[in-house]
Amino acid sequence: MEITAVYYLIPALIMFCCGVYGFITRKNMIAMLVSLELMLNAVDINFVVFNRFLFPEQMEGMFFALFAIAIAAAETALAIAIIINIFRAAKNIDVRSLNEMKF
């Protein structure tokens, strides 16, 4: 049996879909953020897998993943700051409370 790229891509994709599912269903904003991390992580795996299996001469995919991790960290930090801000204002972090503005 040969472990080819698809063998990594599909679990990564499933992970991504889990992230999607979680993002859509979870009501806790931090849980949504967790789902987002799953998605980002899945994409990172994609980059790395492509790099390794298809274009191993250079490390472009790997570096993209590297930078993506950095950026993901930054946005997580920022998002958490904002969520905490909301928590201060609304005393909860239920996403359903974000309904002041609509239509």
Partner: protein, 484 residues
Amino acid sequence: MKQEIALLVVFLLVFLYDTFLGKGAQKGLPAFTAILMFVITLLGLCPHCCGVGGEQTAFAGMYATSPVIAAIKNILNVGVVIVLIQSIKWTNSENMSMRRGEFYELLLVTLFGMYLMISSRHFLLFFIGLESASLPLAAMVALDKNRYESHEAAVKYILTAVFSSAIFMMGLSFVYGLTGSFYFQNIYFAVSSNMSILLVLAIAFVIAGIGFKLSLVPFHLWTADVYQGAPTSVTSYLSVISKGATAFAFLVVMTQVFGAVYSRVWEWMLYALIILTITVGNLFAIRQRNMKRFLAFSSISQAGYIMLGVIAFNAMGLAALMYYVLVYIFSNLAAFGVIGAIENATGKVSMDDYRGLSKTNPKLSFCMMLAMFSLAGIPPFAGFFSKFFIFTGAINQGSVAIYVLVLIALINTIISLYYYLLVVKAMYISEDEPVVATFKSAASERLGLWITVAGIICLGIASCVYTYLLDTTAVSAMQAYFIG
């Protein structure tokens, strides 16, 4: 590179000013920033800076600049200067005293991100630019601490933005998987031989990712909430500068990366998106009473028009897009200037509060009316010219389908005219008692409005702007992609 460096210098100076100068001097920060931006805008406008000829690259082709790129950056600079001028009153308010410096720093960083987006010829740099242009904005959206909407908008923005960048990265990973490179040029040559389902999906994801920032339907749903919740200055920045930069970057990506599969893949995607964007934006805008939300939907539909410059897939479209962005900056900022002035003075942002405004504040209403007319594309205001040229550019593409598309867009202009006229109606025609009493707006606000009004009136009639853009784009490196 010069413009980026200049911008970073400004950033640094603002940072230093903010950090080290005493409390008494802090009130001078907004003006200081505005003046600095004004200076670098002037520097950017000098011919030496704009450069001549085709594309020059740095960092082994990762970064590129050309007269066209310099021009769009200049356009953004002009917009930023106006935004800065208009925001002086707000940032100098008591409420903002603790966050004054941060506002400017964040703003400059996002501008820097946009520069990178525009200039990058490598997807990693592009991605970083995109994120730089959107993440700090979330913080900016949250700046108005007294309003819950501001926080709500920030959360909505950051969560959806990250989701969108995940999708975008997914698309990028597929592109990478197919072509093995992040360099635009390498991808460009590789895509047509790698035509596959995955490529289509990748392009769809990339469009979705960038379309999020452009607020193309159906990736637009955050727009209205965020525009409404954000402080007015941030909204105006978000709606014009961010949108303009992304539009240009979008064009660059679509042509320089996926240009080879234009007619095979993404032309039709854009058709659908444009029709949806314009129509849905318009339909939502009809019902809005909150001015900021109203302008959010209006900006969604404007984004659809801007996309006509992309689908045109030619130099005229490119020039028209840039010109449209420029005119849109002036028109929309005029509107936001008025909204901001009224909000700062009275805290009112509902269209119902604008009833009878012409009786109490004739000059403000006049500015607002010009802005509305310009947005609706009424001559002799600049909006007319930009609309006309973007249609002309689109039709230059030549297919029959584009005529249909333009016709749909044109019919939509009628709907848009309707809701723009609603504002005019509220201000001029409504016979109710005026809600907003007469007030005198701050000098900075007046200055901002004067500039925008002058732009609305002059930009179209003075043909040199558009002519310059068209001449520049006609000889740009992009031309090779359009033809090839």
